[in-house]
Amino acid sequence: MFVKINGKKEDIQETTLGALLKSKKIEPQMVSVELNDQMIDRENINDTLLQKGDSLEFLFFMGGGSGLS
């Protein structure tokens, strides 16, 4: 089914958010996910069901800025 991931249309087989992240090798702990403009609670990520036409935004942590941490 077709969904939108970060603005790009993609044809996916997975029906849950957890499976989709897994297929993309994205560890749930390193991403926040918006599904149709709703932030998904981290504990619900694995079980959230996906439907045709869903719009997903993966938001990643970005730390850089200064020099050494």
Binding site: I5, N6, G7, K8, K24, K25, I26, E27, Q29, M30, S32, E34, D37, M39, D41, R42, E57, F58, L59, F60, F61, M62, G63, G64, G65, S66, G67, L68, S69
Partner: protein, 276 residues
């Protein structure tokens, strides 16, 4: 206090803008902005704020200039290697614009000193590189009720957004807690294209100037991301999260604390950081 003849010339390209004018330039002169981190983001942020004529710039950084910094931290020069970053930066700012008062804090921001320092400023800009400090800045800005311009860069990507306490989504509305240690690589581990720091830092400086002038639409409730490899800017709508542990309906964070990063429970090398 009126501007001197020289200042009128110095700021003439601002003053000629109808959105700025003499009145706006005065607002800029009266503004007090705290820049946390005098590194990749802090360099362009503080240089542009200094050039703009910001009255008071506070700079916090506990590090000394290192050779690896010079690829992107353009406020520091080769001769500065080994010098405290805040002093190196203070000198460049003073050279650029002697009107600016620079207050250097040669230390790390922590839960004990954050609120006290933040209270002396009107705006805070995050130019740090580590998550415990990024979360601390978000929380301290919320408790001190100071608008915050958040920014981050990694590899070829960067992002920023503005947070107005109680009004717009905060960092924790999007990222409720720290990523476990090792899950997200740092620039030190993963690298960063130097010019990216200039771009994101300059956007952060622009956003704080807009707040000071009260012009345009602030970058609130949306995250601006930049992907250098595709030359792609994207805007992602966000909103205040009712379950945010800081600014939500039933907050669990009620006092300022430096959150400790959990040790991660999987092998980060197996799961490469993947982006779009």
């Amino acid at each position: 206090m009126a501007f001197t003849e020289e200042q009128l010339v110095r700021y003439s390209r601002h003053i000629i803008l109808s959105e700025v004018g003499g009145k706006g330039q005065k607002k800029i002169r009266q503004a007090k902005v705290l820049v946390v981190g005098a590194g990749g983001l802090g360099a362009p942020i503080s240089l542009y704020l200094a050039a703009a004529g910001i009255g008071t710039i506070g700079l916090i950084d506990g590090d000394a200039v290192d050779l690896t910094n010079l690829q992107r931290q353009i406020i520091h020069h080769t001769a500065d290697i080994g010098r405290p970053k805040v002093l190196s930066a203070q000198e460049k700012i003073k050279d650029l614009n002697p009107d600016v008062e620079v207050i250097p804090y040669q230390k790390l921001l922590d839960a004990e000193n954050a609120i006290e320092i933040f209270n002396d400023y009107e705006y805070v800009i995050d130019g740090t590189d580590n998550f415990p400090t990024k979360f601390l800045i978000n929380d301290a800005s919320y408790f001190a009720k100071k608008p915050l311009i958040h920014g981050g860069i990694l590899r070829f990507d960067g992002q920023l957004f503005t947070i107005i306490p109680d009004e717009s989504a905060c960092y924790r509305c999007v990222f409720p807690k720290l990523p476990p240690q090792g899950v997200v690589p740092s620039c030190q581990e993963a690298g960063v294209l130097g010019a990216l720091a200039g771009l994101i830092g300059t956007l952060q400086a622009t956003e704080v100037l807009k707040l000071i002038l009260g012009v345009g639409n602030p970058l609130t409730n949306r995250i601006l991301t930049y992907h250098a490899l595709q030359t792609l800017f994207r805007e992602i709508a966000i909103k205040k999260n009712p379950s945010c542990p800081l600014c939500g309906l039933d907050p669990t964070i009620k006092t300022l604390e430096m959150e400790v990063q959990e040790v991660c429970d999987f092998d980060p090398l197996e799961t490469a950081h993947k982006d779009h």
